[in-house]
């Protein structure tokens, strides 16, 4: 299986006196798709940003293991973060040199063939996120970090993006960590779902099943119930604290 192995040991992060994550231990196998859900403010995005190296941890250790080369990590954000003054193609090759042909290929793969010379302003929200996805994938990352990438999209566009992501990963497997607040999205896409609560992992569900998965699948429905219960008690405990 290609992709990076991820191992977190005692990972903690505080902002001032506020502890957001404490002592998270986690092992992710190469090529695994792991979704992270949890109530807002539970530390999901913080965990992702630590793994991405965008913030530095207060305590603990992050290890990425790959075969024969340094792990390439790419992150996709909820906002597309396209550079508005660059054309679509020049956004995709950000930080790269002489990769125009690859950019055209990857744009075709995300369904934006022939749109490379346009400016981001003329694209729709879903199209812009496709460009952001292409920009991440052209690096062929060993670890892909997705921070609610489809959260701002409408339901139909989101479903299309989920399908696209699944197809692209089936063609080129890699390790993925997805932060989402959509339990259904987590269940449709992942091999494993982590529920994060009060700065730690409260539940760790692994499951198999034929892909692509279907929203109506009774097995998924049962898991969804369980996770929603977990989420709601988490929200309840927050309410009790507040």
């Amino acid at each position: 299986m290609s992709g990076a192995e991820v191992s977190l040991r005692g990972l903690g992060k505080s902002f001032g006196s506020r502890k957001v994550l404490h002592a998270v231990d986690l092992d992710v196998a190469a090529g695994q798709f792991v979704s992270i859900i949890g109530p807002s403010g539970a530390g999901k995005s913080t965990l992702l940003r630590l793994v991405a190296g965008l913030d530095s941890a207060t305590t603990g250790r992050i290890e990425l293991r790959t075969r024969g080369h340094k792990a390439d990590v790419r992150m996709m954000f909820q906002e597309d973060r396209l550079l508005p003054w660059r054309t679509v193609q020049r956004n995709v090759v950000l930080g790269l040199k002489n990769r125009e042909r690859d950019a055209a290929d990857i744009l075709r793969a995300v369904g934006l063939e022939g749109r490379g010379s346009e400016f981001p302003i003329v694209l729709s929200g879903g199209q812009r996120q496709r460009v952001a996805l292409a920009r991440a994938l052209i690096h062929e990352p060993d670890l892909l970090l997705l921070d609610e990438p489809f959260g701002a999209l409408d339901a139909i566009t989101r479903a299309a993006m989920q399908l696209l992501l699944e197809q692209l990963l089936a063609a080129h497997p890699r390790t993925v960590l997805l932060v989402t607040h959509d339990v259904e999205e987590a269940l449709l896409l992942s091999d494993r779902v982590l529920l994060i609560k009060d700065g730690g992992i409260a539940r760790d569900l692994s499951f198999d099943g034929p892909r692509p998965r279907h929203r109506g699948d009774p097995a998924l429905a049962a898991l969804k119930e369980e996770l929603l219960d977990g989420l709601l008690t988490a929200e309840g405990s927050l309410a009790a604290v507040a």
């Binding site: 965008l54 790419r74 954000f77 973060r81 660059r86 950000l94 930080g95 302003i121 003329v122 920009r135």
Partner: protein, 311 residues
């Protein structure tokens, strides 16, 4: 029906008609109102392109309506003697003065001299403002070192330095160029620093996470993001440059549009004075036009400019 059959003539007809109409109206009660918002059939070279051409023509012509109209009224009032030509000469007299000066070659020479002064002073000042702004905006130690001093100097009206400039540099070209440069420097400086400081930190973070080095980060993200405010500063600086030149050319000049004015005042040639004022207006308008063309070219990607650039 039996009741209706008892009626006779038009009343009966009206009653049955009412029944029929009642059935034609939908159950919901209120009658259906159809408003046609648009009904456009696609035709090559139809109404829409013609209307677009009309709008483009209007955009070109409409701004000229007011100045040309005022000119016409002015000429009319002068010709009928309502405005005394001893106070304000008629537009056609000013035109004659311009033609006379042009025939002697003075007009072209003075305009070119003034243009040259603005160009040199502006380029020096704007470049200085841009460089200082870049260093102060990008490097914190430079900011700590320079920003306060520059802000203090900025609050001094640069025209207050005219007497000093004359004492230091005499009445040659230098004081004029230095004054124009000083006037152009600060608008560019302030907008450059402000533009750089307001770059979206999320884009900077993105650049870093995509492995951009420091130089590349500045070149690919910081500068393009700050470009719009920088261009605003440049546009404003051009205005200040002309303003400064007007004052600068009153210092014992031997040529330039300012000299034209000084000379005309001594000869009581109001027509030439008004001509010079009009020349300044045209110069200001032209320099604004140039910067706007540059702006539209460089900011094609910007939502506020995208529409017009495509049109």
């Amino acid at each position: 029906m039996t009741d209706a059959s008892l009626l006779s003539g038009p009343a009966a007809a009206a009653a049955s008609a009412a029944v029929v109409r009642k059935e034609a109206v939908p159950r919901a009660g209120a009658p259906v109102v159809v408003s046609v918002v648009a009904d456009i059939s696609e035709r090559a070279g139809g109404v829409a392109p013609a209307r677009a051409r009309g709008a483009a023509l209007r955009r070109v012509l409409l701004p000229w309506l007011l100045p040309l109209g005022l000119l016409g009224i002015w000429q009319l009032l002068s010709a009928t003697g309502i405005i005394s030509t001893a106070i304000v000469p008629a537009p056609l007299d000013i035109w004659d003065a311009a033609v006379q000066l042009a025939q002697r070659g003075e007009l072209q020479r003075d305009i070119l001299v003034s243009l040259r002064r603005v160009a040199i002073g502006f380029v020096i000042g704007a470049t200085g403002g841009l460089l200082l702004g870049l260093f102060v905006g990008l490097f914190e130690p430079v900011r700590d070192l320079l920003d306060r001093s520059l802000q203090m100097i900025r609050t001094i009206p640069h025209l207050a330095l005219v007497p000093l400039m004359i004492l230091w540099f005499g009445i040659g070209e230098e004081p004029r160029l230095i004054l124009v440069a000083m006037g152009s420097l600060f608008p560019v400086y302030i907008n450059t620093v402000g533009g750089i400081r307001n770059v979206d930190p999320k884009l900077i973070e993105l650049g870093k996470s995509y492995g951009l080095g420091r130089t590349e980060l500045i070149w690919s993200i910081v500068l393009p993001a700050a470009l719009q405010p920088i261009l605003v500063g440049i546009r404003y600086a051009l205005g200040v440059a002309w303003l400064t030149l007007v004052v600068g050319e009153t210092i014992a000049s031997r040529d330039g549009v300012g000299y034209l004015v000084q000379n005309a005042r001594e000869l009581l040639r109001i027509d030439i004075i008004v001509l010079a004022i009009i020349l300044y207006a045209i110069a200001g308008w032209l320099s604004d036009l140039v910067t706007r063309v540059i702006e539209r070219r460089l900011l094609r990607w910007h939502p506020n400019y995208a529409d017009r650039a495509n049109a």
